[in-house]
Amino acid sequence: MGKAQHFQLTILSDFSNLGAVADFITHAAGESGLDESASYNAQMAVDEAVTNVIEHAYHGRQDGQIFISCESDDDEFIIVIQDYGKPFDFNKVPKPRVKGPLARRSIGGLGVFFMKKLMDKVEFSSSADRGNRVRMVKRIR
């Protein structure tokens, strides 16, 4: 209680690292006081975010670096995901159609949809020289 905490993980842009990312987030979230449900939601949001980075910023290349950091205080658990792949505008990702019959469902954009649903705040920034950055916040309690 009351202690600021900081956790960091750097991975290469390979899908086989997603399990390690999930373990890292679950550990950091638990240490930061998130309950099991909030922790599960945070690991899912990060899984979707890192998957997007591998697919859209690094286009499946497996040697790109992805930096993940978590910070927490009494009120918030903050996750920042940084990459130096191709600039990618998350705000232009189309919204998926999550209602209606099967034939009319569009599935693109579901990852970003989940990130926004599962976290309290999601911010994207991107530039040619600074890469892509996703900042997500989950309130504690």
Binding site: F15, I107, F114, K117
Partner: protein, 110 residues
């Protein structure tokens, strides 16, 4: 047995972007062999990402085009929450256990 008998697929662990392709391959193989009545038992699936959901959706669409369907069973409350969030509970038939899913196929003349 015949293509009428539902085939059960039982993915285990995390169904993320690393593991979804294996599930996709398995479902595609079943469909290619004429098994268009599929039950995906998620009792051992601890997590499913949008990639995993996409795989299930694509297989369901193909199965339906062939006159069958893909039904789901044994979701944990957490998985069910994810399905509901994406509105997937509206497009998949979701059953509590395998028997219920099998019975659902039997009822429609399977």
């Amino acid at each position: 047995m015949s293509a009428q008998t539902p085939v059960i697929v039982h993915p285990q662990g995390r169904m993320d972007a690393a593991r979804a392709p294996a599930l996709e391959q398995e479902l595609r193989q079943q469909l290619a062999h004429g098994h268009h009545r599929l039950i995906v038992d998620l009792s051992k699936t601890t997590y499913i990402s949008s990639n995993g959901l996409r795989v299930l959706l694509a297989a369901h669409k193909t199965a339906q085009q062939d006159g069958g369907s893909l039904k789901l069973c044994c979701l944990s409350p957490r998985l069910l929450e994810i399905f509901e969030m994406a509105g997937f509970d509206q497009i998949f038939e979701i059953y509590e256990d395998r028997n219920a899913a099998e019975n659902a196929f039997a009822k429609v003349g399977g």
